[in-house]
């Protein structure tokens, strides 16, 4: 049951992913990407990470994609009138296939060898995913968390500088 569900979602994710690349209209690509994001959120739930699923939807689908669509609208980007040269498409695709092939190859040959920790589904259910994440963020990963604040600040300044109408 679970695997059938998985495969359906995976198929949707991959198909919408392909649509992102193949759609001529950027808006369609964006919408396909949102679809992919939703599929991924589904996976996150399946992987016992409900908080990440929520963040995925809110941040990615909600914020980033909205921003992107907004910019698409703002710039009034048309569909690509001229196709990229077919050789570029072919070579790009070939490389992509290579990437896929190689990734699959080593995924098959390799295995997850990392130190297995204590967190399991029970734990997630018991103390709640948000709490687990929060705990990690504020203890182990306090510094990176603080860095993100600088990162966002810098990004805001940058975005403002680059995009504001008059300096």
């Amino acid at each position: 049951m679970e695997s059938i569900f998985f495969f359906v979602v995976a198929a949707v994710a991959v198909i919408s992913g392909i649509l992102v690349v193949t759609c001529k209209n950027p808006i369609n690509s964006a919408l396909s990407l949102v679809m992919t994001f939703f599929c991924l959120a589904t996976f996150y739930v399946m992987l016992d990470a409900p908080f990440m699923a929520v963040t995925q939807v809110i941040v990615y689908a909600g914020a980033i994609m909205v921003l992107i669509v907004f910019v698409i609208m703002l710039l009034n980007v048309k569909t690509e009138t001229v196709k990229r040269g077919s050789h570029a498409v072919i070579s790009g695709t070939v490389i992509g296939v290579f990437v896929l092939f190689q990734t699959c190859w080593f995924l098959m040959k390799g295995s997850m060898t990392g130190q297995v920790g204590v967190m399991d589904k029970a734990m997630v259910v018991k103390s709640g995913h948000v709490e687990l994440i929060g705990k990690a963020l504020f203890t182990d990963f306090l510094l990176p968390f603080e860095i993100t604040s600088l990162l966002l600040l810098a990004a805001i300044i940058g975005a403002v500088i680059l995009a504001k109408k008059k300096i």
């Binding site: 990963f141 810098a154 940058g158």
Partner: protein, 484 residues
Amino acid sequence: METIAIPAINLAVVMPEVILSIVAMVLLLVNVFVPGKNKGYLGFLSLIGLAVTAASTVSAWGLPVLGFNGTVVQDNFAIFFKVIFLISAALAILISDRYMVQEECNQGELYPLILFATIGMMLMASGTDLMVIFLGLELLSICLYVLAGFNRASLKSNEAGLKYFLLGAFSTGFLLYGMALTYGATGSTKIQVIYSFVAGNPAVATNPLFVIGMLLIAVGFSFKIAAAPFHMWTPDVYEGAPTPITAFMSAGPKAAGFAAFIRVMIFAFPMLNAHWTQVLWILAVLTMTVGNVIALSQDNIKRMLAYSSIAHAGYALVGFTACNAQGAAGILFYMLSYAFMNIGAFAVIILIGKKGEKNGNVQDFAGLGFKKPLLAVIFSVFLFSLAGIPPTAGFIGKFYLFSAAIKSGYVGLAIIGVLNSAASVYYYLRVMVYMYMKDPTEEFDWAGATPSIAICLLACVGATLVLGIVPGVVLEWAQKAVMF
């Protein structure tokens, strides 16, 4: 619902970053109140900030401290690199006022952005967790994307920013994938943990996930240091970005890339060095050769220095390939020297340049040698240093790097290196040929040097010569910095 016990925080470990962040934010605030033509005060303030940061950085010398649950460390290695970053930031700020006024993009935000970028670099140097390194890298990158496109009115600058952004984001994908695989193979993102885990389970070292993870991380850093074939962005971005930013990018972020690269490779993957030295060997050869060869046919000096910067990354990779303490020390020393000589060279370009990045071709330097002898001599010193001719810092640096490679038995690599360096002489000499051996085609008007650029030039030329003639002390520091 239990409360989260926030662990004891040792702010001393990140004191330089904290100070610099505070300075940057204060600058942001001050910026609002400083009128448009007086933005130079911000530069002055930021220099003070950098000085204070440097003092705080240096004061931690000799006492390695881990902090924040092992995600960050303040050791000699980090300190040496931080000094390089601070110096390049300071030099970049010194040379930017005149340029920014000339190009009419004199915005106060420049300084905080440079400082934020510096913080990013410092985090890359001292981070011991892949997350910290990643975030430092991204902090740096985002600032650089903005800085590269800082001259909004200039299409070239826009292009530079956009290109850098798209390719940077693309490379981030690979870097992240590498980190993910490493995480999967070892169960942690902390360098210390990765190391001890693999040391405890040697079988992991042969796990393809782990190896590929390492390779992809290497790719990510190679992009940052502009190693071939991940160097393609460099010439375009360097050419397009505002010159002071190019100077900054060629010195600081490259060093930061090396800092993180060395940290990850040597600290986390020492057991894989048989793999990554092979990769680095090839990268080094490719990088040196591509950089030097293409530089031969460049007329635009900024672009030529961009290619030369690629080549210099190649030389540093030679030392990296050696995978010994001397090689690492060599990179440290080289990055420091490179900061001085390259930013110095860019300072000269700024002085010669005119609005709209005119006068940036080698032909525009014709006759400079006798019109402005002092400037030409200073420029020659930088060029000789870049070419690796004694008695300049560039020579000592190369000597160290190549001798490290030879020490590890990579004589062939060293030979390719020196041959490249001989080829590079051609294009550095070409500039001198124009400066000294050709007559000027047109009268050039001389805007004069501002005090800040003069200070920068003097500092750079002084450092280039001092590091070339009596490099002993600094080499000693570099050596101490890499005693892991």
